[in-house]
Symmetry: C2
Subunit: 683 residues, 2 copies
């Protein structure tokens, strides 16, 4: 990609200097920019570095520039002399110059483009808005490189702008409450990945997570004391705004609302009383759509909440109403008959229309999940598709704007490439150009049934970085090897803004090992993933709000790099039969083969770790078969029928989940074994 | 220790059951209890465990019991069926029963004693106050053990109460701002260590860190926006109260107050204008003690702050006024002459007396550093001694209550045993029994010039656990091997309540290695400590608020266990000449010898890590000499004069600090070398 530009830039250099120097290698940027031209030369960094601003400079821009300097200093240890950037720091001789035309507005379709030019003499970053400057500063930090002489930025030119205007992360703070620091550090991660919508899922059956001054029993009785005050909400909105991120609250209604009914049972369609739900699943309680008092309540409620959240958009959820309370309520049935409402779907549309009136009164546009889409809803609502891309296409054809979340459910522990290749608007889209414009982007969704503040970052990152790239970068950017190469770097950089996806895993391993040596456990967990989709709920344990989320399945991540790299290595080896590859495979297999014995001390010491014993044993067994297969492949021999049977039996057994986890190297070892069973014969 | 009790308990068991079973081994408790009797038998834990409360049960006690269950479940993964404990959970058949007589008051001398009895049938925890129950629950969690059959609690009886009533941690949130999560997780660490005073250092030359509604320019102009709102302060006070911890605010005056003067220069003794201080040291600006307006301001200020903080005590700092502004102000000089005030010390007493009047009016008792002690101050003030134990003794003799902080300056990176053996009331105290009662306890002080939210936990923990033990446990508990054995366990447990002292170090190593392999860096850093006391400021770098605290000296901890254990190992080996010890020493030396080569890749990759190169090289060189010495010692030979000279030269060089750090294994290797130089000859 961009070879055309790369070639052009060499040509330009050739014209302007007598000796043609090689272009710098491209940094591991993510999301990959729309256009990048690597050039030759390095801009050297030292403590005398100065940064200045130009144009109509906002406090947001000055603040971002200050944070940029501090982050640069934290990574380089240079002791930069310049401390804070103010809107008045306009020294035109500074080596890093930022210029924008106007402060950006935090709204859909705002300009986020920027141009970044690095030469051996300095850096110029220009943008229409300060939000573009923020995006460019993140790119600039990712350009940091080093050689024997110290730190530098490679010469390049980047012209960048997002493909989609809505690039979000939804955070469920209800199933498990997520305190302020979780929100803030994830906003920092989003900013690094140029994401611009924080969708805050604030109410659920399991908790009402925001202070409500109008109806205080909502948070007082619906939250166990775990809620965000208005002051904290304002703090989050300001923190997000400083990073160019919109904040859209979601109050899920009419379903997913049991926690409202603890304090206000009259809102529900059955008499109650209600308690905060402690279990997971789809619950029956649902708001009563036929009482005027419901809408009077919601009117006053929305008056308060729409004033608190400044964004144009407001999310009303609308998903997964099972209709049981409506079916069982004779008054509701009578009402439906009287008003010719044929079914619950239509009744929910009646409800949604009433809510839409209220939101419109308060100057907001409605966002909701798939279920809010009915013919007849006005065209300025936004549909968030969780059920499938078909819904997205239907919505766009019917004239609705929509965002994709189906395929971006990061709590389901699916691999990065699954999410990455999930394009809201693929090349083969059946939509017309005009319809396609209605696809605004997408949102990664972090549901929190099985997620706690300790594990949440590891469930979001680094996979969400790949989703961010899908939504920002050109559609043609989709090479997986390149993605994983860059993701490895970004995974590290995400840690440096405070995310805990790696360091908390180490804590969790120490706890699982009860303070003992964690290496055998780490060796096992590195090739283990929690079972995917909703399968963890089907492994024998019943999870609730109070369950311990501190076991192996919680310490294990999705898309484990060690396992992924091994699978790739085996694939390459079976094609190329390279000696170095063989050696790497043997080393890993030997380590796994020996690990089960090493792990026994941990299992002996710490009962909480014992449920991984079958995984560990299986890993040792199949690693042994793998080594045998490698031996035959390299010697041009084949496995005997007996050996093959034994291997297949153990491989089959190794595919069984245990401890709500699965081994992620079985298929690769199976490929080695099957290759040794067949190919060897043909030699 | 406690062998008497242990013997007694065997005797009791012998009388009551036919077969005498061995007593359980004692758990690694910290702080060590006043009395403990290990008994025989184990109380087994399973998911059916039930806990109940009795007596006059407070919300605090129910909340602590709920947290106890959740923490137990997080460590064991048992899926305990019981979720929350309410004040009404009074099932007398529950296996764990907590009973207290009354809710405790958060005040000095409140009863914190408890009795904990574990038998194979269950657990009884009783206390006079709910605060005693909290202390006992922490002990109970530390008792958790496991064997082949799962988790259990060993049979024992503990009767426990603190030696001193004031066991504090002072946190400087001014030099570097420490956000809410830092405060909360350190309160959890304090609660685990049974500490009961959080001393919140809220104002400094470098920052005014609390919202002031009366004089908003204090926080608006004095904090860069980094301050605690009233709501946050109330949240901290409630969080601390839930853990039986008092919160005492400190507003340092009349010195250390530059940040006040940014918004209110008229308070100072020189005209200003003032800016927030960005550098470290003792500053000249000081409040003007001769203007009535100063006291009118402080009256209204203290009216607000004394209402916000409920504790009986209020800290006014009072330290390190260099008097320069007073000397240079002719009006102040005239005032002193007119009122017969002989010197600045007396002038500060005049100031303090005025503040004392105000605090008394608002119902508070004054606490201050050494400098507030003058003859003539009333006897109900508390002196916090930072300058030395002599001041503590003088204060006690003069009838003042006092607390010790000298010797507990944990930011100075001194070893654990230094702090641990620093007894506020040693056996050889010259004080009478009555005077000794005035020694209330002590406080660890975490000053923050060189400390950030990322590193603060590693500067406080685990060493503060040893200080907590000094202040809680009987004076006779002072065996260092036993301390370090238990500290190793506690270091791990402190992580499980959210402290980041270990996991952030791993992040920092990854950042130093720029995302590369951290093992060679870790091997080096494990035997390296930052230079101690105030020496880091004398190594060539000038540190400010904005400096990068992300270098090797920041990643290194005080009292590194690997180095400490090596020193002990060498000491034992030189006495005992044990083969296993020799083997362990050789392994470590060989690893260090080889590490410099392994580290080169990191240094090449990451310039920020390069300043450790001299340390790494020295370590390799002296490890080589150490191996040579081991060889001679084991073969009964001696080093040649030339070898000895070369070794001594390298050892001398290895004592030089680099990267603001020092190698902590030089003395031990030197001992090996010198032993090989001399003792070998005598064989």
């Amino acid at each position: 990609m961009n070879t055309l530009f790369a070639a052009m830039s060499v040509f330009v250099v050739a014209l302007s200097v007598p000796v043609v120097k090689a272009n710098e290698p491209a940094p591991a940027l993510m999301p990959w920019p729309a256009e990048i031209k690597m050039q030759s030369g390095r801009f050297r960094l030292d403590s005398g570095l100065r940064l200045a601003v130009d144009g109509q400079v906002s406090d947001r821009m000055a603040g971002a520039a200050t944070r940029f300097l501090r982050r640069l200093d934290e990574r380089t240890g240079l002791f930069l002399a310049q401390n804070r950037i103010s809107t008045a720091d306009r020294d035109s001789t500074a080596q890093i110059r930022l210029a924008c035309h106007r402060p950006g507005r935090l709204e859909l379709f705002e300009d986020e483009s920027y141009r970044l030019t690095i030469t051996p003499a300095g850096v110029e970053l220009s943008a229409v808005t300060d939000i573009g400057i923020l995006r460019g500063l993140e790119t600039l930090l990712q350009c940091l490189a080093a050689d024997q002489d110290g730190y530098y930025l490679p010469a390049l030119q980047i012209d960048d702008a997002p493909r989609f205007p809505w690039r979000g992360l939804m955070l469920d703070v209800c199933r498990h409450f997520m305190p302020m620091e979780v929100i803030k550090r994830n906003l920092d991660g989003m900013a690094m990945m140029k994401m611009n919508v924080f969708h805050w899922h604030l109410s659920e059956d399991q908790g009402f997570r925001i202070e409500c001054k109008t109806f205080p029993k909502l948070h007082e009785m619906g939250s166990d004391g775990f809620y965000f005050t208005h002051a904290q909400v304002r703090e989050v909105i300001a923190y997000a705004a400083d990073r160019g991120i919109r904040v859209i609250p979601e109050f899920d209604m009419p379903g997913h609302a049991t926690s409202w009914f603890v304090g206000y049972p009259e809102l529900a369609s059955a008499p109650g009383p209600y308690e905060i739900v402690r279990s997971w699943g789809i619950m029956d309680p649902v708001m009563n759509p036929i009482r005027e008092e419901t809408y009077e309540f919601l009117d006053r409620f929305l008056a308060e909440m729409t004033a608190l959240f400044p964004d144009d958009y407001f999310h009303i959820g609308g998903d997964e109403n099972n209709g049981k309370q409506w079916n069982a309520n004779p008054e509701i049935q009578t009402f439906m008959q009287a008003h010719g409402i044929p079914d619950n779907h239509a009744l929910q549309m009646h409800f949604n229309n009433r809510i839409l009136e209220l939101l419109t009164k308060y100057g907001k546009k409605m966002v909701g999940w798939d279920e809010i889409l009915h013919p007849g809803m006005p065209r300025n609502i936004v549909i968030q598709s969780w059920r499938g891309k078909e819904a997205l296409i239907q919505a766009a054809r019917q004239g609705y704007q929509s965002i994709l979340s189906n395929g971006y459910y990061i709590d389901l522990m699916q691999p990065t490439d699954f999410h990455y290749l999930n394009d809201p608007l693929p090349a083969d889209t059946p939509l017309t150009a005009e319809e396609a414009k209605r696809i605004l982007g997408g949102e990664a969704t972090s549901w929190a049934e099985l997620v706690t503040p300790e594990t949440v970052d590891s469930r979001i990152w680094p996979r969400t970085a790949a989703i961010a790239e899908r939504l920002w970068s050109p559609a043609t950017v989709q090479e997986l090897d390149d993605l994983y190469r860059r993701l490895n770097r970004i995974d590290f950089l995400l840690e440096t803004v405070g995310l805990t996806h790696r360091r908390n895993t180490e804590l969790m391993l120490r706890r699982l090992a009860d303070g003992g040596d964690i290496e055998p456990l780490r060796t096992l967990i590195d090739v283990v993933e929690p079972v995917k989709i909703y399968n963890r709920h089907r492994q024998g344990k019943t999870f609730t709000s109070y369950s311990p989320y501190t076991r192996a399945a919680d310490a294990a991540h999705a898309d484990q790099p060690v396992a992924r790299n091994f699978r790739r290595l085996v694939q390459d080896f079976l094609q190329q039969r390279d000696r170095t590859q063989a050696e790497q495979i043997r080393l890993l297999l030997a380590r796994w083969q020996a690990n089960d014995a090493a792990l026994q001390k941990t299992l002996h010491r710490s009962p909480i770790s014992r449920d991984v014993a079958p995984l560990s044993k299986s890993l040792a067994l199949i690693a042994d078969h793998g080594l045998q297969a490698m031996d035959r492949l390299e010697r041009g021999k084949h496995l005997t029928a007996k050996e093959l049977d034994a291997a297949r039996l153990d491989l089959q057994q190794a595919k069984q989940p245990a401890a709500e986890c699965e081994l992620m190297v079985v298929s690769a070892i199976e490929a080695l074994v099957e290759s040794a069973a067949t190919k060897a014969k043909s030699r």
